[in-house]
């Protein structure tokens, strides 16, 4: 299920909201856990036993690590065992879904196929076969929990239902954010639910829905068929347009899904960490990564980069640079164990490594637009690898961008209607910090005239209702496209 799927919007969400408001404080967590189990199991029911097994094993492991505190060797052994098990489960499904379609063909019809939501008779390809919903996010949350318990940054959770709720909470199961136990443990038992909070959460949900359905999914009508061609034989301008369109589609797809997640979290009284901060305005790749998928990059920083760095305890410049490249290679492979994701990660790592060796300092002294062009160029070219079905495909696409002759006459881009071009224009506009600028503009106006503030707020809500209606119409007209990051 997705946060913008019709069955969620029309059935599970209204039922859950109503029951949540009617239920007493005591039953709210049970209700949310039940809703999360339904959400997870919908259409992929075999994901449920896998997740419950992971939760049980890690719940026990956390308590065991806590009991062994003070005994350095056994505590570390318990941590390593549990983390290795989690990584093995993740790697198993990543290999199965992303890298071994032949294996998938052979398991069709068997019980294992149910895990992957394979329909009988469906011929799987890497694009069609999805890993269990939320697995990559769940595993990373579990590892952060175990490491934090080991380092005594947090104590283990003593109530299994609360631990299960932390892991499975449905707003964040689709595409994150990756929430650490210590960020949310207090909220599991004590959270404020106010009318203002609920209203703000619903507003954010609608904004996220509109980003996903009215912007990303409209751009998808250009990008998906274009990347579906067997070879990207486009004219140079069209190849550029395609990569730019994909960069915008991916951002609005992911950030929209995260807005929906954070908004729903807020409706139920949770505060999840932010995952984006207008990434495309960054002036270098390092800054881009402080603005893009923040909960993943800080996870790698805290649980891989810092441990690697602090064990060396000596200033070794080369080793630090190698660690940076390694971290981004791993970040790439988190998305899938394919050469394309590896190359995508290496591009980020090498760029950031060069930036830390004085390039960023030099760049900072240059003309500001040049800094933006450099960042967008590196990030944009890396998206070509991220989106293409193979390395050869990505290289051919980049070849067409720089004007290398194609092996066939240039093909036209798929024909699309005006709505797609309007979505692209809106995407360019809203990739800029427009919201912050508007807030800055009307805050003094609101202060000066309370009556104007009421009108402004009413107008905003009418606009949001229009966006909700537009999103519903677009979903009905163009169908449901899962969130891109739900496939990782």
């Amino acid at each position: 299920m997705g946060l913008h799927s019709p069955v969620f919007l029309l059935f599970l969400l209204p039922v859950c909201l109503l029951a949540y408001w009617l239920a007493g404080r005591r039953w709210r967590n049970t209700l949310l856990l039940a809703a999360s189990l339904v959400f997870l199991a919908w259409g992929q029911w075999l994901t449920l036993p896998l997740m419950l097994a992971l939760i049980l094993v890690n719940f026990k492991a956390g308590q065991r690590i806590e009991r062994l505190r003070g005994q350095a060797g056994p505590a570390k052994a318990a941590l390593v065992q549990a983390v290795a098990l989690n990584l093995a489960v993740l790697a198993f499904f990543k290999i199965l879904t992303g890298y071994a379609p032949n294996v998938l063909v052979s398991i069709q019809g068997s019980g294992l196929a149910g895990w992957l939501a394979l329909q009988p008779g469906q011929i799987p390809s890497a694009q069609q076969v999805l890993p269990p919903l939320g697995l990559s996010y769940v595993i990373f949350q579990l590892i952060s929990y175990l490491v934090d318990v080991y380092h005594e940054i947090t104590d283990s959770e003593k109530r299994l239902p609360d631990f299960a709720l932390y892991i499975l909470l449905f707003p964040k199961i689709v595409a994150g954010p990756i929430v650490r136990y210590r960020e949310i443990s207090a909220q599991l038992n004590e959270r404020e639910m106010t009318r203002q909070g609920t209203a703000a959460g619903l507003r954010r949900f609608v904004i996220g829905l509109a980003k996903k359905v009215l912007i990303a999914d409209q751009i998808a009508r250009l990008v998906n068929p274009a990347f579906g061609a067997s070879s990207p034989e486009y004219a140079p301008w069209a190849a550029w347009l395609l990569v730019i369109a994909y960069a915008l589609q991916l951002y609005f797809d992911f950030a929209g899904t995260i807005d929906m997640a954070l908004g729903l979290g807020q409706v139920f009284g949770f505060r999840f960490p932010e995952n984006f901060n207008t990434p495309y305005i960054a002036r270098n790749v390092g800054e881009f990564w402080r603005r893009w998928h923040i909960t993943l990059s800080t996870w790698f920083r805290d649980y891989v980069f810092y441990p690697l760095e602090f064990t060396r305890r000596r200033d070794n410049h080369l080793r630090q640079q190698l660690h940076v490249v390694l971290i981004f290679l791993l970040t790439g492979l988190w998305h899938g164990l394919t050469p394309n994701f590896a190359v995508w990660g290496l591009i980020q790592g090498i760029a950031i490594s060069l930036e830390t060796q004085g390039f960023a300092r030099w760049l900072k002294k240059t003309w500001a637009p040049f800094q933006h062009i450099y960042t967008l160029l590196i990030v944009g070219l890396s998206w070509a690898f991220f989106r293409s079905p193979s390395l050869a495909y990505a290289l051919r696409l980049i070849g067409r961008m720089v004007g290398l002759p194609g092996s066939a006459p240039a093909a036209p881009l798929p024909a699309v209607d005006a709505l797609v071009w309007a979505a692209l224009a809106a995407a360019v506009l809203f990739a800029l910090p427009v919201n912050a600028a508007l807030q800055k503009l009307w805050r003094p106006l609101d202060d000066r005239s309370p009556r104007l503030a009421v009108i402004r707020r009413a107008a905003t809500d009418i606009l949001l209702l229009a966006l909700l209606a537009g999103s519903a119409l677009a979903l009905a007209r163009y169908g449901y496209l899962p969130s891109i990051y739900s496939a990782f």
Binding site: H151, Y306, E309, F310, R313, D315
Partner: protein, 78 residues
């Protein structure tokens, strides 16, 4: 003998190669040019070497500003 803040300021100036850095307890990574994940590691190690102490991961995770760092040093050296 220089205070902890004075010695910290000296370490910061060396790590970030900026003699103009002036530290307050409220100073965070946002206030110091070039204070990112990489230089953070170098900074923590430089502080450890200068004060001859070792921070635990729990302590490092707890540093949200210069004041946290100074208080932790104070309790370690005290």
């Amino acid at each position: 003998m220089p205070s902890i803040m004075e010695t910290l300021t000296d370490v910061f100036r060396q790590v970030f190669d900026d003699p103009g850095i002036a530290l307050e307890p409220e100073t965070t990574a946002d206030d110091v040019e070039g204070w990112d994940s990489l230089s953070h590691v170098n900074l923590i190690m430089a502080v450890e070497n200068r004060f001859d102490v070792r921070f635990t991961p729990k302590e490092v995770f707890g540093f949200h500003n210069v004041g946290d760092l100074a208080r932790c040093l104070e309790s370690k050296l005290g």
